[in-house]
């Protein structure tokens, strides 16, 4: 066990955990930020995507002990009032079915658009490819990313 200081959604948080514990479980069970989802535990499905210093990363295989200096953003902290352009586009396109993967999808999309404000179809597909949706909402996700890009540009 170790005391680890984290910056999560702009706030300083202190946790007392095994430094090997993946960030995902620290967020969910120590900090009660359950919007970040567990899907596979091996970084293969994208449900646990968060931003670490603005870059989309898989929190399920990031040991928390390595993260004391970085700024971590979760779906709960993506915007103050749930009004990030990507979140608004998701609502406009009524993307979710079961909804479980969507926080990860949104975090990936927000990171994409932060780095590439006007992506073409191929870039959107390539960037979103690491996030699985078993319900099959991909066409809506794609359309929502394009809508968000328009709003941002």
């Amino acid at each position: 066990m170790a005391t680890i200081n984290l910056t999560v959604n702009g706030q300083q948080r202190q946790v007392d955990v095994d430094p090997e514990m993946p960030l995902l479980w620290v967020l969910r069970d120590e900090l009660q930020l359950v919007g970040t989802k567990y899907g596979c535990g091996i970084g293969s499905c994208g449900a646990c995507t968060v931003h670490v210093d603005g870059i989309a990363m898989r929190s399920c295989n990031l040991p928390v002990g390595n993260l004391s200096g970085e700024a971590i953003t979760t779906i709960e902290g993506l915007s103050e009032n749930g009004d990030h352009p990507v979140q608004l586009a998701w609502l406009e396109h009524d993307v979710p079915q079961c909804g479980y993967c969507q926080a990860g999808q949104i975090m990936t999309a927000a990171s994409l658009l932060a780095n590439s404000p006007d992506p073409d179809d191929a870039e959107i597909s390539a960037s979103m490819n690491g996030n699985i949706c078993r319900c099959g909402t991909y066409t809506r996700i794609h359309a929502a990313v394009k809508t968000a890009a328009k709003k941002l540009s």
Binding site: D29, V34, Y38, G82, C98, G99, A126, G136, T137, T139
Partner: protein, 730 residues
């Protein structure tokens, strides 16, 4: 005052109520506090007080209405659509509606189950009557207050108007009086042409919570004092727990206890929903999911073989042997099929295969259980709460009325959560440890637990005469634990000589319903076969099918045909027109009827790096009245993408009884760049009462895809998955 703390008046117990089960006591509403009503619709000003009108409805003094959604929500969007039906007949403004998930309450709700795409079909009449009954009571209350005849009143958007005196009263002002009035014997339902909510696109009521990461799912539930549990099940089918040495695991920091449970003890009579290949398990209980998932690696578990180790090669050989030599159950015979085949000008025979499939809901199985001496509380993702309660009641020896079950929003169901073994396991772990626990499966636990879509093998034969007319049809199917054949579905009824046969293969790999059970395989096989038969007959694939439907419309064979040939033919001719189908079209077509709905599709594929990829799909659906077009389009699109993905990539295989795919690094689900770039869905408008929609778009797309692959490659595909295996990466 907090909106989710019911006031004294909302506990009003209306013991005088009789009939219909609508006006009983509703103290269970206190169990719904985990539903943050105020967050559901932050733009609404929440009422100071609620009046409970019936099991479905609470009306606030300011006219805001809470509608309970009775059925489990697995992503099929009934949590939006079912309340829309109530709201329509209640005649309220949808903007003033808040939706809450109802708990399991068999006294007040019927069929609280998510399965078979039947929630809307079965709920249609009762939900309409519920809304209309409440509206009737509110109008009767207004009649009393205004001292006029109820017949002089009309309602609109939550307000009762008396046009004669230019007076009006809001539902909020009338609710407490309405709740004391006698129930009407009969209620008048709206003429569908007057619908204002049904048929108009409404956004998913949970969407805001989903996109902001609010707690909604079983995995998100946290309770004071709750521990987490992880299970260890046998590594292979046909194996069982022999012994466990838990000394080291128990000593690890954060571990509370290690227990062994048995979900099927001697004397327990499993129901259909108790499918479970591994009833005896070891569970590690501790402080958080990661700790217990790590700690279980320190267990020393010995397994023993209880039935033979099976492999995929053995499975396939057994299915083929059955089809070749097995003595089949004749499910239907019309005319003289053997005679017709012996005199045919052409006989086409083809065999189709599909493998076992795990469900792979994105939210792995999990459940919360708090078992005490005098009662148990269970919360989590379950498609069949009523059946779970029965199993738990039997295992705990506790009356059902002492067991409270609350359904959470589910991160996918697809049939997996019809089988509540994980809820049973959570219950037994809580009972053994005497603490509230939440069981969480790892992805590997989830993917290797079984309850898979069965593997199937089916052989078709068709006889054509010299004019290319279908004279006989023979379907002979088998699978693990069940045959995929529906003997009375198309093309039964369209051909004079017809034979349908079933054979069943035994396997120790456990199986269960998977989105559109049996249809998810047989539709693709049948529609791919008919494509080849049409080609052998020298006919356009759509024209060939329409000829068969003409026969079923004008002079059907037999009386047991379970489809309406006119509706079936209509979706096919509609998709021909909507897709701009031409002679010699290079796209694939398919049509299928299941879950009481009709779907036809035209699909365009291309080859990318030697692998099939779907470009565009046209889809026509006849599911009767579409309650929520927004959700309906989403369901159809999802079913198409899900169907394409599993047909191209899905398979779980076995060596020595062990599932060879255990996580998404080795199991391939369809991804963003593999989805079609466009899906065009058209709903037939016919005013017929609504039917299923969560499943029907999936089965035919497998056939449309197979036929499209043939059009672009010149090669037929018979075995799923259609795409060649490739290296997977995360």
């Amino acid at each position: 005052m907090s909106s989710n703390q019911p006031s004294r008046r909302s506990f009003l117990k209306l013991t005088a109520a009789t009939g219909g089960g609508l006006l009983l006591g509703f103290s269970y509403l206190t169990s719904c506090r985990n539903e943050k009503t105020a967050q559901a619709a932050p733009e609404l000003v929440m009422p100071e007080e609620w009046v409970t009108v019936n099991a479905f409805l609470k009306i606030g003094e300011n006219g805001v209405v809470t509608i309970m959604s009775p059925n489990p929500e697995i992503g099929q969007n009934v949590k939006t659509a079912m309340p829309m039906i109530v709201a329509e007949e209640l005649d309220v403004d949808w903007k003033n509606v808040v939706v809450e998930q109802a708990p399991l309450d068999t006294e007040n709700f019927e069929r609280q189950l998510a399965g078979g795409s039947q929630s809307i079909r079965h709920g249609w009449e009762p939900l309409r009557k519920t809304g209309a009954t409440a509206r009737h009571l509110l109008v009767a209350a207004a009649a009393q207050r205004l001292e006029v005849d109820a017949g002089e009143l009309r309602t609109e958007n939550g307000i009762v108007y008396h046009d004669g005196s230019d007076r009006s009263l809001g539902y909020g002002e009338l609710a407490s009086l309405a709740a004391t009035l006698p129930l009407p014997e009969e209620v008048t339902l709206k003429d569908p042409k007057d619908f204002r909510i049904i048929g108009n696109a409404k956004k998913n009521v949970d969407a805001k919570k989903i996109v902001t990461g609010q707690p909604l799912y079983g995995l998100d539930l946290q309770r004071e004092g709750m521990k987490y549990a992880a299970i260890v099940h046998p590594p292979a089918f046909g194996m069982a727990l022999k012994s466990v040495d838990d000394a080291k695991a128990k000593s690890l920091p954060g571990v509370h206890s290690v227990v062994t449970i048995d979900a099927h003890p001697e004397g327990f009579e499993p129901q259909w929903s108790d499918v479970n290949a591994f009833p005896k398990l070891v569970a590690v209980v501790g402080d958080n999911p990661w700790t217990v998932m790590q700690a279980r690696k320190a267990l020393k578990v010995e397994w023993e073989r209880t039935s033979p180790a099976e492999s995929s090669a053995m499975h396939r050989a057994a299915l083929e042997r059955l089809l070749d030599e097995g003595e089949a159950e004749v499910a239907r015979r019309d005319g003289d099929p053997e005679g017709a085949f012996s005199t045919a000008a052409t006989v086409v025979e083809r065999t189709y295969y599909a493998p076992f499939l795990p469900h792979n809901t994105m939210e792995p199985m999990n459940f919360f259980a708090d078992v005490r001496e005098d009662g148990a509380e269970l919360v989590g993702p379950i498609q069949t709460p009523e059946f779970l309660r029965k199993s738990v009641s039997a295992l705990l020896g506790m009356p059902e009325e002492n067991i409270r079950i609350m359904m959470t929003r589910m991160g996918g169901g697809f049939g997996r959560r019809l089988y509540g073994n994980f809820g049973v396991e959570a219950t037994l772990i809580s009972q053994a440890t005497k603490v509230p626990i939440k069981l969480v499966y790892s992805r590997e636990d989830d993917m290797t637990q079984g309850t898979y879509r069965p593997e199937y093998l089916v052989r078709y034969r068709a006889a054509l005469d010299g004019d290319g007319k279908l004279t006989a049809f023979h379907v002979r199917g088998t699978g693990a634990g069940e045959s995929p054949v529906f003997p009375n579905r198309f093309p039964a009824g369209t051909v004079d000589n017809y034979l349908a046969e079933n054979l069943v293969n035994d396997s120790n790999v456990s199986t269960g319903a998977w989105r559109a059970p049996r249809s998810n395989f047989i539709a693709g096989a049948e529609q791919a076969f008919l494509d080849e038969v049409a080609e052998a007959a020298g006919k356009d694939p759509i024209a060939f099918r329409l000829e068969l439907f003409d026969r079923a419309i004008s002079n059907p064979v037999g009386e047991e045909n379970d489809y309406d040939a006119e509706r079936y033919a209509h979706v096919l001719s509609e998709v021909r027109d909507k897709s701009g189908w031409t002679d010699g079209d290079r796209r694939g077509v398919a049509a299928y009827y299941c879950h009481n709905s009709y779907v036809a599709q035209v699909l365009e594929a291309e080859m990318v790096n030697g692998q099939p990829r779907v470009k565009e799909v046209h889809c026509v659906v006849d599911c009767g009245i579409v309650v929520n077009p927004e959700g309906a389009h989403n369901q159809v699109e999802g079913g198409i993408i899900d169907g394409i993905g599993h047909a191209l990539y899905g398979a779980i295989t076995f060596e020595d009884g062990r599932p060879q795919q255990q996580n998404f690094d080795t199991y391939r689900l369809i991804r963003h760049n593999e989805a079609p770039t466009a899906i065009h869905t058209h709903f037939v408008e016919n005013g017929i009462a609504p039917t299923g929609l969560g499943e029907p778009s999936l089965p035919p797309v497998v056939g449309a895809l197979a036929n499209a692959i043939y059009r672009v490659t010149g090669e037929r595909v018979y075995d799923q998955p259609f795409a060649a295996p490739r290296e997977l990466k995360g």
